[in-house]
């Protein structure tokens, strides 16, 4: 089976890693793929809440990495999708409770069973980040259109490259098209000009993200919302389809960066 371990990371906190992980996982499951979401944000467990699965947690990732139980005992099946699973983080421990080697081993076990293993990375560049990327084949970097978030994304891309995780894909989250048009927010071009990586998708700022999250649902299931459409497009792109960016966010978005510069 072809399987992929993907880490969702950002550097800066609060830009939408957990939201992205939940939506991509749900979207992939809805498209028929068997996926497991791993919450690597140990001590600040979130993914279970976003998916509305908190009350089902018995074991967590550290019970698995400490070899107290097999992973099958710890993973929780999603409420709606038969083929979507969550491996929750521990809430009462800290990032040092897991090591990069343990993570690698865990990812290699999971890839035997799942088509997609998606890891929700904690913010920062410390131990939690190192753990989260240890077993990954690829990385998705999430940023918002803010100078500080883009700067941190750049730092993260550098660290990923140094760890042999090349060609990460970028998701720009919380874009406000009107602000970009008024020149008050970085445009996609501005962001790509600095980061020079492949754009996987653009998710607009959308209150439906907050509304669905508060219900323990994911916006990707909501047919009417623009952010849901954006996530569905990203899922299709992950499966190799060519899907153009949504109309409202365009404006030379697909302009490729200067290939001749010897960049990756």
């Amino acid at each position: 089976m072809m399987s992929e371990v993907i880490v969702v990371t950002s550097g800066k906190g609060g830009v939408g890693k957990t939201t992205t992980t939940a939506n991509l996982g749900t979207g992939l499951a809805a498209a028929g793929h068997k996926a497991v979401l791993v919450d690597a944000d140990i001590g600040l467990r979130n993914l279970d809440v976003v998916l509305g699965l908190e009350n089902r947690i018995v074991y967590d990732i550290t019970n698995v990495t400490d070899k107290q139980i097999p992973y099958r005992k710890a993973i929780i099946k999603d409420k709606r999708y038969e083929n979507l699973f969550l491996l929750p983080a521990a809430q009462t421990k800290d990032k040092t409770a897991v090591s990069p080697d343990q993570m690698k081993e865990l990812c290699d076990d999971l890839r035997q069973e799942f088509e997609y293993v998606i890891i929700d990375c904690p913010a920062g560049i410390e131990q939690g980040f190192k753990n989260a990327i240890a077993g990954a084949d690829r990385a998705i970097v999430v940023t918002t259109p803010e100078v500080s978030a883009v700067r941190d994304a750049d730092r993260i891309i550098g660290l990923l490259e140094a760890n042999e995780l090349r060609d990460p894909k970028l998701i720009v989250n919380r874009l406000r098209y009107n602000m970009v048009k008024a020149g008050d927010m970085m445009s996609i071009d501005d962001i790509l000009d600095i980061l020079a990586v492949e754009l996987l998708g653009v998710v607009p700022e959308d209150e439906m993200v907050v509304i669905t999250t508060n219900r323990g649902e994911t916006v990707v299931q909501d047919d009417k919302s623009r952010s849901g459409q954006a996530y569905r497009n990203i899922v299709r792109r992950m499966n190799g389809e060519q899907v153009p960016l949504m109309d409202l966010q365009e404006g030379g978005i697909l302009k490729k960066l200067r290939k001749f510069m010897g960049m990756k």
Partner: protein, 137 residues
């Protein structure tokens, strides 16, 4: 994880060298935020130097891309050192003991190669062309 190149141990044989005659390192990638390169010699980057990245070189620094980070050429005190970039927009630019930065609110961006050097004791930015280049030889 810190991506900094250390000086390769190739010391000059006690001979005073001018900028341009030293070792040169070629970096075929973009230097990203948090990455630092210190080198005893000239540095050529085939890529960008992003904001938050830093290059310090005893010789010249040439960036064949966008330069938006911090650079220090002539770090040992060589006032003849230059910085050149296809798009020169550094956070801070230092040559020898001179420290400069773009004026606040300066959004002027050229799409042409520029060269920074010390002229009459001040760091001067000029469009790069061959005739100017000759003056630096």
């Amino acid at each position: 994880m810190e991506n900094s190149y250390k000086n390769q141990d190739r010391h000059s044989n006690g001979v005073e060298e001018t900028a341009g005659d030293e070792n040169t390192i070629l970096i075929k990638r973009t230097l990203r935020s948090g990455q630092r390169l210190h080198y005893d010699g000239n540095v050529v980057v085939m890529g960008d130097v992003n904001p938050g990245a830093e290059i310090m070189a005893s010789g010249n620094i040439i960036v064949m891309g966008q330069l938006r980070g911090v650079v220090h050429a002539g770090a040992g005190g060589n006032e003849k050192a230059i910085v050149m970039s296809f798009r020169l927009a550094p956070t801070q630019l230092r040559i020898a003991n001179h420290i400069t930065r773009p004026p606040d609110g300066d959004t002027q961006e050229t799409d042409r190669p520029e060269i920074a050097s010390i002229k009459n004791g001040v760091v001067t930015i000029e469009l790069f062309n061959v005739s100017i280049d000759r003056q630096h030889r």
